[in-house]
């Protein structure tokens, strides 16, 4: 477990998270993440051999329900918040993003 993070490590984590960081943030997070993880490292002291992990405090329960068709949100309403879209009335009904192929 790293006691400190290099610039390259921080930039690699940021790339995984699709975050662009400025140089000051890279420096700050290198220091703070190391501090927080050094503190969090105390969990390593606990003997957890044979202990199952808990994902939720309350156990899973059956969520079966009748398979009934109910109305969904109107496409126009959904696209109203989109930064860029093609509305159904102009023949579209989809979100638009920068070109990804050729």
């Amino acid at each position: 477990m790293p006691a400190e993070f290099t610039r390259a490590q921080i930039e690699a984590i940021a790339a995984l998270a699709h975050l662009e960081l400025d140089p000051a943030e890279v420096e700050m997070f290198a220091r703070q993440l190391a501090d927080i993880l050094a503190y969090a490292d105390q969990v390593q002291q606990v003997d957890t051999s044979g202990v199952p992990p808990t994902a939720y405090g309350v156990g899973p329960h059956s969520v079966d329900r009748p398979d009934q068709v109910v109305p969904s949100l109107a496409v126009d309403d959904v696209l109203a918040n989109a930064p860029d879209s093609d509305r159904p009335r102009s023949g579209g009904g989809f979100f638009k993003v920068p070109r990804v192929i050729g």
């Binding site: 477990m1 975050l19 700050m28 703070q32 993880l37 503190y39 969090a40 969990v43 957890t48 199952p52």
Partner: protein, 488 residues
Amino acid sequence: MSTPATLAETREAVVSGARTAVEVCREALSRIEAADPALHAFHTVTAERALARAVEIDTHRERFRNAPLAGVPVSLKDNICTNGVRTTASSRVLERFVPPYDATVVTRLHEAGAILVGKTNCDEFAMGSSTENSAFGPSRNPWAADRIPGGSSGGSAVAVAAGMTPLAFGSETGGSIRQPAAMCGVFGLKPTYGRVSRYGLLAFGSSLDQIGPFARTARDAAIALGVIAGADPADSTASREPVSDYVASLTGDIRGLRIGVPNHLIHQGGVHPEISRAVEASLTVLKERGARLVDIELPHSKYAIPVYYLVATAEASSNLARYDGVRYGLRERQTDLDEMYSRTREKGFGAEVKRRIMLGTYVLSAGYYDAYYLKAQQVRTLIRRDYEQAFAGGDAVDVIAMPTSPTPPFRLGEKTDDPLQMYLADVFTVSANLTGNPGISVPAGFSSTGLPIGLQLTGRMFDEATLLRVADAYERITDWHTRTPPAA
């Protein structure tokens, strides 16, 4: 202005015709107008819409005769979706987001006759303990304007403490209802995980998040929980466990009730002496009322903060992946798709949100998953077992009592440069989110400088009725909850 009415008084006045819903609504709006410039509890005040709704309730008063919240002004944390009303989560990335649907709690409040008057300030995406991580500026504590109101649901706590609305809702992932309730001197209830539907709550930590009320009496909190609790076809994590009659549980009788007291936690380093004194005095009051105090140990509680910040950040890094500039919210225009994602997220998120996404991404990444995330989930099991053991067997206790916050509200700016110190503010609250147990913060005194102190009670799974009974019994014999802050 006179002392603000409670939820129960307000509803009674509207149903009996003593006051119109419009009068009640106008009073709430004028209290907001008077107090909010100094406190910044609200991002959005829905005055026009609220008054139209009040007119509707007055016009059809007969129809609302049995409605539990008839004419009651309500404010909601700004991470709960409201159809047609901007919902920002205090983030630049959602600054102009107008949800096309209501959260289930909003639908239920509407059916119960409530009037939404506004959306409240919070830490960005509910990440913080002071409301200072809001992209639109912090809220201030109505008891001392240079102090934080707690967080992350700080605006909702302020709205109730300052008498702007008798009822407000917040959300919790690690104490974000109970902690600001304690710091503002009001009741704050985190229901059992799964008790309340989260459909329409902007997700942060999906195994931890829960919605709950802020109120000025235990009775008001009980009424509010009764309205919002219960199964929901739109949220598969909402439990089908039957919903109790919470108001009926307020008997005032706590004779023979067993209160577990983890003395080893209350007297640990870092707990302000005035906090431990106030908690001990409260326990003496409950004992005189007939409760039995039982010393208990929660040996794994000391690992709750590290476990929480490993689990919650992992879940957050996954949940916040959706803010990428494609379907809603901010977009930084770029010709390359990957550049568009990363520039949007750089511009849209504040420092704490980025910090948690970074930490969560790291602990979930190849090579570290087992050492951090899996290990944290295993220790989470041990924390859960401590609570299960305390609530079961021959020595079983009915509730567990401890402070809500280790310190009174701190000054704005005091901890913003040191994230780890800020995280330690949650030392008493995060366990209940990790285990799923319900918890409540009860007004239980004031520091020598007049800052509120909260007593925290944690209960058995789905036993909010007992928590509310104890809170109500305590309220009947103390007057902490009746004090109003200077800024009200």
